[in-house]
């Protein structure tokens, strides 16, 4: 009897065969790839230059940025503001060369948003806000909403490679891979867990054939429908039963089509950022999902030794460069928005441990199908958000703060999702919208 893998190899021939592109998306409908820098990045190291900034009245700015880490004996270790097109960025050729390399190549496709007000200074509340546009950790995040809205034809709407995505009420359209790539054991019959030491058995105890699985699938569908007789209410119960049928179908389709792509994951090992990038593009290109969430796998929460932000930015931009190149190579760049997010930035000054604490503002970078080569928003000499015109993104006297919810609503619009059902009454930030 053929195993699932053998069947797939013989009939679909997935392994070794060029991947099938899903083709261009309908107008306005974009993929969303969210890249997280969890813990809170120091925006003065890159997006929000404060080198030699001045306070009102011409006084010195008191922000301690990356320049405090310069090694006077290393002539290459110098912080400077470089302008890539219309985007000014803090660069350092010795410590963060990937930043300049990235913007040099991709600034036409990059939009930096400074001065996003996060509404909190605690990690989880800030994370909920920047990912969902609400203070509520049970609401679906932007990637989940995007996948749910646009990914109906795909096995999954959104896939979480990061572990941090919040799927909320839309969880039935999403998938997780597990902290140490556990998903592999669920989709690949050739991968089995090791039994406890000394056990007299090996896994699996029972290995259903593809025909068995198809029979069970049909059984479960009929059994689910039969439950409506007792529980069907035209409301929440029916929605739960619908979600079950949808989940079974999505699970089956995802398992059948994802083995090749996820074979690069090793059970028991975290997927590093670069591997996540590769898998994310593969998943989208092959039509397995519509949105993906990635994580740099770095702890950006530098209460001690803020100087470690240099290396983190280097890793982040190395991965972002790979991501953008892969999207372009696969013809996906114009159909994709990449949202690079961190829940907060860090205090202007270092603490006694030479680290920095939490600051209730942040920056973001939007890539791909956005108004490129541009910066929206700003912060002042205290690294606090300044009012903007939400339509243009430009700082404006008499404007309003670009709050986390405005920003989130704007990202939803960017990817072709009406934000109103998700963020009622919130005015979207449109500064990054292509003209």
């Amino acid at each position: 009897m053929l195993t699932r893998r053998e069947l797939l190899l013989s009939s679909a021939g997935l392994l070794g065969i060029p991947r099938v592109s899903m083709g261009a998306l309908p107008q306005g409908r974009k993929h969303l790839i969210t890249v997280l820098a969890v813990g809170g990045w120091d925006v003065t190291f890159c997006f929000d230059p404060k080198l030699a900034c001045t306070a009102p009245g011409g006084g010195a700015c008191i922000i301690e940025g990356p320049e405090v880490d310069e090694n006077p004996n290393d002539p290459l270790d110098r912080e400077e503001i470089a302008r890539f097109g219309e985007i000014p960025v803090v660069v350092n050729p010795a410590k963060r060369p990937a930043v300049a390399e990235f913007f040099d190549r991709w600034h036409p496709k990059a939009h930096v948003v400074n001065g996003i007000w996060t509404g909190s200074i605690a990690h989880d509340p800030c994370r909920f806000r920047i990912l969902t546009g609400t203070p509520d950790g049970t609401r679906p995040d932007l990637a989940t909403i995007n996948g749910h809205t646009h990914g109906g034809d795909r096995p999954l709407g959104a896939v979480d490679l990061s572990g941090w995505s919040i799927s909320g009420s839309l969880a039935s359209s999403t998938g997780r891979v597990g902290v140490q790539s556990q998903i592999v054991a669920l989709i690949d019959d050739d991968v089995q867990f090791r039994p406890p030491e000394g056990a007299s058995f090996t896994y699996p105890h029972f290995d259903p054939s593809p025909d068995d699985e198809a029979a069970v699938q049909a059984f479960l569908q009929q059994r689910t429908e039969s439950m409506r007789g007792v529980f069907g209410d035209g409301g929440d119960n029916d929605a739960s039963l619908d979600d079950l049928l949808g989940s079974l179908d999505r699970a089956s389709r995802f398992r059948d089509r994802s083995q090749d792509i996820l074979s690069s994951l090793s059970i028991g090992k975290e997927a590093g950022f670069l591997l996540q990038v590769e898998i994310a593009v593969d998943l989208i290109e092959n039509g397995l999902c519509h949105a993906v969430t990635l994580d740099t796998q770095l702890d950006w929460d530098t209460h001690d030794l803020n100087q470690t932000q240099h290396d983190k930015y280097q890793t982040l931009f190395t991965g972002l460069g790979a991501l953008m190149q892969a999207l372009e190579d696969r013809g996906l760049l114009e159909d994709t928005v990449v949202a690079v997010l961190s829940e907060m930035t860090r205090t202007p000054l270092r603490n006694s441990a030479l680290g920095k604490d939490h600051w209730g503002h942040t920056s973001a970078m939007l890539l791909g199908s956005v108004r490129g080569d541009a910066v929206s928003g700003a912060t002042d000499h205290l690294l606090e958000s300044v009012p903007v015109d939400l339509e243009s993104g430009a700082p404006a006297d008499g404007g309003v703060f670009n709050k986390y919810d405005n920003f989130a609503a704007g990202v939803l619009e960017l990817v072709g999702v009406d934000p109103e059902p998700w963020l009622p009454g919130v005015v979207p930030f449109r500064g990054a919208h292509p003209s």
Partner: protein, 560 residues
């Protein structure tokens, strides 16, 4: 208007909610004969070990404390000498506060004791980690006392609570204060948006600290939050794996000729086992920062013991506890529970002398919990409940004898650092297993459970079910029919349709709590599945494995 569940359906729902297991056939028979017997069964179940496990699960989710994916205490020094591994240290430390709650509830003591208990809870590992008195000849979990001078206040004085809920340098324990307010009073002060208009003199740390007392944008929250935070001075900000490893690198003794240790207030000597997580000398340090004195919503107070009593005396504690229990047992956001119900159940708690079993009893026997569906008008109903990973683990083990265990340690995990976990239960682990992938929380990155089907949950259940199905069929057919768990009506070579159908009807009852006849449409479907598999495999045995696997994935198993 609401359609109620049948007595047997109600029994399934209540059993799963309270115990995480399916009702036994005898229990189903009892309520089939006498629907009023549900109440008596509930009383018995509330005294069961399985309900104790549910109480621990509830509070694990509430406290976000079973976190196996984040930094663990390293196995060093006396822990290594005692032969513990990483799993021992993890499980014991995270279970200590949960065990305190479990013993209070299962011992029929007032639930307020979880905040006022004048003792700590420790097993041998916890005792070694923190240097607590422990009788090796006594029970595994023992009441003991902290010996570092900290006031005792139930779980509020448990070190693991504050290892999990850390404080950062400039946070001055406010995150912990908000955790307490949010968890026990349902007042999420930190959930509100904050904004400091016009800025603060950030060049001066004291100015920032003072701003919260004077800046109009700050005082609203900080008038409440800072006095609560002041109770926590004395507890270390955090206790990280790296700091302990570093302390051992220094042989647990700082060379003071080198000046202060890398973190001035973190003494190397404090970070070797037994850990000194509390320092009486730091209790008043709030004053050094010109912060507010300990206080409780305007009432002055002394120490953490006072805080425990003040919370437990606060009327909000009873209604918040009612919301916490109802939220967990009914899989509903606690803010979505109607005020009238929260108040009613809060009264049940108070009137019973804070008997948490009475609270749970009132919830699971309420119309809101036992209604099948709303057929007219509006009503608040729990609706279909989705099996949690912890429940699935217990239910499958109870039905089949199978627990999904694995050893995923990598070669060399024991040296040079001991990070071996040995045998892991895959349904209750996130490091190696599927807890959050099956809808649970990992308490760190996933902090809210998913109450509903998901593709990942379906994949997990399919794998678990096929393993359990294969296991129980092999085990059952290896012993006489009278000793079997599930396959009591057939032998490995039985193909007679009537006998197979009779067995299928038994499986529907035992696994799903569904009383159907051998010729019912439900059994027609199961028979078709069994017969097809027997034909494909040419053998009845894998057909039974497939049928059991399918029934474990049945919507009546996924939902209850």
């Amino acid at each position: 208007m609401v359609d109620p569940l049948s007595a047997e359906q109600q029994l399934v729902r209540v059993s799963m909610a309270l115990r995480g297991t399916r009702p036994a056939v005898g229990e189903l028979d009892t309520v089939a004969d006498d629907p009023g017997a549900v109440d008596d069964l509930v009383d018995a179940w509330l005294d069961s070990d399985a309900f104790g496990a549910t109480v621990a699960d509830l509070h694990a989710e509430l406290f976000l404390i079973r976190d196996d994916t984040n930094y663990q205490l390293p196995v060093k020094g006396v822990l290594e000498n005692a032969g513990y591994n990483q799993a021992d240290v993890h499980h014991s430390t995270v279970e200590a506060p949960l065990e305190l709650v479990r013993q209070v509830v299962m011992g029929d003591r007032p639930y307020t004791e979880i905040l006022t208990g004048d003792y700590a809870m420790a097993d041998e590992v916890v005792a070694d980690v923190y240097g607590l008195p422990y009788d090796p000849d006594g029970p595994k979990w023992q009441q003991t006392r902290w010996v570092d001078g900290r006031p005792h206040a139930g779980v509020l004085s448990d070190s693991q609570m504050w290892r999990r809920h850390t404080s950062n340098a400039a946070n001055f324990h406010r995150g912990r204060a908000n955790f307490v307010s949010r968890t026990f009073l349902c007042e999420d002060i930190g959930g509100r948006d904050i904004f400091v208009a016009g800025g603060v003199d950030i060049a001066d740390e004291f100015a920032v600290a003072e701003a919260v007392s004077t800046n109009p944008g700050c005082v609203g929250c900080h008038n409440v939050l800072d006095p609560l935070a002041a109770f926590f001075w004395g507890y270390k900000e955090q206790l990280q794996r790296g700091a302990i490893n570093q302390a051992y690198n220094f042989d647990c003794e700082w060379d003071w000729t080198q000046g202060d240790p890398p973190r001035g207030d973190y003494r190397v000597e404090h970070w070797c086992y037994p850990l000194k997580f509390y320092d009486v000398a730091e209790e008043g340090a709030w004053e050094d920062w010109r912060l507010r004195a300990p206080g409780y919503f305007g009432q002055p107070a002394g120490d953490m013991a006072d805080l425990g009593h003040m919370i437990s005396d606060d009327p909000r504690f009873a209604t918040c506890t009612a919301r916490n229990f109802a939220s967990y047992l009914m899989q509903t956001d606690r803010d979505a529970i109607p005020h009238t119900l929260a108040a009613e159940w809060g009264d049940v708690l108070v009137d019973s002398g804070f008997d948490a079993k009475e609270l749970a009893r009132a919830i699971v026997l309420s119309d809101a919990f036992t209604g099948a569906r709303v057929v007219e008008g509006d009503a608040f109903l729990a609706g279909l409940q989705t099996v949690r990973p912890e429940q699935l683990d217990r239910a499958v083990a109870d039905l089949t004898g199978f627990t999904w265990l694995a050893d995923q340690d990598f070669p060399g995990c024991s040296s040079p650092v001991n990070v071996c976990w040995d045998t892991v239960n895959l349904m209750t682990s996130d490091l190696y297993g599927f807890r959050s992938m099956a809808g649970g929380v990992d308490s760190y990155t996933v902090t809210h459970p998913i109450h509903g089907p998901t593709p990942t949950r379906a994949l997990t259940l399919a794998k678990l079910a096929s393993e359990a199905g294969g296991y129980v069929v092999t085990e059952d057919f290896a012993v006489p029919a009278g000793e079997r768990r599930l396959l009591t009506e057939v032998e490995p070579d039985t193909v007679d349709e009537a006998m197979v159908r009779a067995q299928l009807a038994v499986l529907h009852l035992r696994i799903l709590g569904e009383r159907v006849g051998p010729d019912s449409s439900a059994v027609d479907l199961s028979w078709s599945l069994w017969d097809g598999a027997r034909e494909r495999h040419g053998d009845p045995v894998p057909a039974w494995a497939l049928v059991v696997s399918a029934l474990l994935q049945d919507p009546r198993m996924v939902f209850y």
